[in-house]
Symmetry: D2
Subunit: 358 residues, 4 copies
């Protein structure tokens, strides 16, 4: 998620929602410019918010399948049997890079930064009679939340009690912000707990179904998935527990071409497809845009509800800003998805180089 | 490589070597404490150095196999045929994480830093009637040169002309520092040019051959490799072009247990095994320590000569600070090595989560 | 303050204090090694803490002198009359640098970092027929909390309600963490609100009174101040409202000589001298060590109580890691203290180059 | 200087200038959009450049006044006599902040960044029975080259020999890039060598002379200075050796109002006023824009020639992005300028909070 989208969306701040009439918001989001950085995220919400969060009137923990102590979520699907099953799909030996190149000109949200520096020229040397010289690089960035990004379980929570009460900000398996939120890394739910993904991936090319790039706020439905499967000669029964589901909206074409539009919202899945994913036992979702889900949500009261349902409640991972160009060109919709997050202790996500192998 | 080892090694600075007698240095390095950060790397070398670098009396470019325009080096071995051949080794479906967790307490060399911060608590929210909150993380580090690190082709060069002349600092395929050394990322040879690795890996457990952890300055020989293969029921003919070779020295046991000793030097391969790797067509080397090669080199005049021979001249990649504990416990010495570098434009290497699959 | 001292001090965590007997702690702190970075600061305190913080049983806001809306605290003393009065002390025209050089080898607490990189060499150029080249530098650090540091009013608060409730973490003038704690800078009480200091400074050389460097945990008393004044031919009546008070303990001699000891605790003022400062109307305190106050406090239950009393409750600024060597060598104990913080929006303090002019 | 302006100015790259005809460039710069970050600064210049840099046909070192070993440049004017002379101008006791607030929304050039993060909320605590909590901040930025910036002597050099030869990139007093350009801080000419400024400042309000904001590429002449002095009732003889000269162009009004225009070029002084400054013995120049000098220079072949003449050759400091609003409102054109750079070892400049005192 690039929740920084929400900065400047005064109308979506929960205290405001409680104060004013919710239907006031209905027309609020679409087309709104992103006031990137204009507002400090997490700004004060002085008013106590009495009612429960929409969609979360009771605790979602402990996780029914992975148990109360689990911190790995849906990466637990990655068993030897799963790997062997997935490996059967390696038939061509072709490796597709489905992540994007990281660079400072990428679309970045709000205050997020990506700053790379080469110290010196060279960084060191020459040393020895062999006169070796070397370069390093220094990178300062929201490493798990810029560019092609793999969202971990510590990224998304839900404020269950009053605003500002960290013991009532709840994450996957009920962990509270008070427990996990250290200054130098998350004390729990860091990305280092995620097991490497080596699983079957299914790509739904909704752009092809629609015949054009989807637009901001356009929701992918289960009917769309079925249309894509038919078009792609895939069976719904192909989708097994522990598989990964990827959605191509066409919106990724804007990457570094029209960053402003790319950041202004996006097409993507909504709560209907999220439920379908949960029912199927999907381990990971992914898309060619920055949140996988539709933004703004058609229900204007809700901010990134799919993130809450999938990551926070179900422990299902999410891979954003992917690039399916090569797969689509070759009409490869089913493949082995391989991604092993960089185990950065206490990070909310991971950078990396995801691949699809056929 | 963690060339920062060289800081404070006045006796290894090339100008000094030319001035003074080379054999003066013979006793110089072993046991020397690492004066981390004490000297600015790349410090001035005022004297012109007339003679050619040891071992590099003529240009090594263009690359005989990959051609003059190549920037991908030995990752070019990663062809569909190679992937299919490697995939045959997936029999158990077991995935081993062979990288280490990244954290600030890792052994780091000289001035290299690893600083992770969680902005706010939460970083943003609550937003929407669903009251979503989220965390990001901000990481500032030598991303490709701290912790488990994958050395790219822009990391290592050789000063061919006089010190300080960037047009005579030469890298893989002859690219000069003047061409590649931008302030905001390498203009050429950045890690984004490296193709994902999906190849056969062979682990040589030299610690087991020796019966104990190898020590600083102890060189792994070809005879050691052969002893390991015999012990492990491997054939030298198993090693094919495009495969990866990993060396376990036992030195990795010191990781975060005795960082000072870990940084003070290391056992590893020397020029003999480097030549063996080149002859075999090895695409990547790796080890459980920080440079793969022995430090200090038994030839005290030389600073990281294996880096120069393999990375700079041959374009062979190197993966450092790996952890083979799980593989060795299961006596798995042959596996599929999968690593897809994060394509950070202009970076010298990559962080990530390498895996071995059996 | 370098509160990171508190990391690893399990016995000082407030929840523990409430659980266990307070006198258990009496022997706990002195001589304890600083487990720098070993624990995540701000770790979870699951237990609710019923009782009020020691010394803060009722709100300290609004500020009696500066009023409820004030965010500038004791820098409000900086009036034209004050400047003119101070300027009378410029008699020699001598300028003393009383701050230290910033570098990565400085003593730094816990996870705080100071990392400087020079991008490229040069960073840019040559450009134009005049062939200009240039260098920049890239610095990543806790800018207001490393090296010579000027503590602002957003640095220190007191948890008034239960742990983790940000609406009950109170800062100067009652501002809560919920109001001020943004991810990208403090929304209130940032250092940009502090007016430049140009005031009379009084240096109390307690090291000279004691005849030697003071030691960890040794408290400066009001009697010590009076002994210093007598020794230095100063009158207590010289100290006027809006003046600055500096304390030399000798502990600064350890700077970059023995960083471990320097970080292990320190001599300094306690609550008695803090009260004296408040009574005198002191606008700023400062010392040759890292917190101005004695650490550990002789009352082992208390963690940095002087910070709470002076910064948080009174809005009195604090300048740490100063160097009075030049002033003492010249026997200059009274001078114009000039420091204008870098107005970094939302920062907790400031770096800079404080001077004393005589 | 914000030399990043030069990125994308292909026509100003010295190799190009040598290749093509210089007068080709005459029409090149004005109105050109700043392709910020589009090109890597310091990119390769393969061609050898035979001729000497324009305006630098012979070495400018050693400095005729400060001598061959000097690294403090014009801050050497800061003597006790100078301080006493300046202090006479403190008559009102009024302190003007003439620097700007630092924040990420400031105009920044090219790849330069300003990223502030608050780690945690709080960063640490509660600790002790007194339940202290605290905030830190983490800032990553080109600390001496963003916002209100004080250019040090290590910032600007001239390529005297062939491009890429660091031993012929010359800085103040002839220091070469090979000597000074470490990866972790400049080995020589770092800002820590600059003595604190406490001197007489003269403000020339050229905007008032012109009756409107000056425009991009408009040069301030000596005649303009004289017109300003007449208007402001100042005498040219008031300007003494070691004084500071400030120029108000009005361009600072664009700050955070129209960052694109602000960055596109600027009005300022040219070589004529630079010579006047040298003749007068000016110790420091400053302006309400980002380079003090006119950009582009009316001689289109030249890139920031005033920087080369004043900083590099003369060792005269330069303070950029100042704000004279308060002084002008009060018609205060002569004052004490006080600025003590943060002594960041090896930095090219300094952030801070400059003041004018009347």
């Amino acid at each position: 998620m690039d929740s920084r989208y929400l900065e400047g969306k005064e109308e979506l701040k929960s205290s405001r929602i409680d104060e004013e009439r919710r239907n006031f918001l209905t027309a609020g989001l679409v087309g709104g410019a992103v006031a990137a950085g204009a507002l400090v995220a997490g700004a004060a919400h002085a008013q106590q918010v009495a009612q429960a969060p929409a969609g979360s009137d009771k605790p979602w923990w402990p996780h029914p399948k992975w148990g109360k102590d689990d911190v790995a979520g849906s990466s637990n699907w990655m068993t030897p049997a799963k790997v062997l099953d997935a490996a059967k799909w390696i038939k061509d030996g072709k490796v597709y890079r489905i992540g994007r190149v990281y660079e400072s000109a990428m679309p970045k949200f709000g205050e997020r930064a990506f700053t790379l520096r080469i110290p010196g020229s060279p960084t060191g040397g020459p040393f020895g009679a062999n006169k070796v010289v070397y370069y390093d690089e220094y990178l300062a960035t929201e490493i798990g939340q810029t560019g092609t990004q793999f969202d971990g379980l510590g990224h998304i929570g839900i404020q269950m009690g009053k605003d500002g009460d960290k013991s009532e900000m709840r994450y996957y398996n009920g962990h509270s912000a008070q427990e996990i939120g250290g200054a130098y890394g998350l004390a729990k739910l860091g990305i280092e707990n995620c097991k490497p993904f080596f699983t079957r991936g299914h790509l739904f090319d909704i752009e092809a179904v629609k015949g054009k790039m989807m637009e901001v706020g356009e929701e992918i439905t289960v009917a769309d998935l079925r249309a894509a499967m038919q078009k792609q000669n895939m069976q719904e029964s192909d989708v097994k527990e522990g598989d990964a589901a990827f959605f191509n909206t066409g919106f990724g074409k804007l990457w570094m071409k029209n960053n402003d539009k790319f950041n202004s919202g996006e097409p993507g899945i909504g709560l209907e497809v999220a439920k379908w994913c949960v029912d199927k036992g999907i381990a990971l979702t992914g898309a060619d845009q920055w949140a996988t889900e539709v933004v703004p949500n058609p229900n204007k009261d809700l901010a990134f509800p799919v993130h809450g349902e999938l990551i926070c409640k179900q422990g299902i991972y999410n891979h954003e800003n992917l690039d399916f160009t090569g797969l689509i060109a070759d009409r490869k919709y089913q493949f082995v998805y391989i991604f092993s997050p960089a185990p950065i202790k206490g990070a909310t996500g991971s950078n990396g180089g995801p691949i699809a192998v056929t």
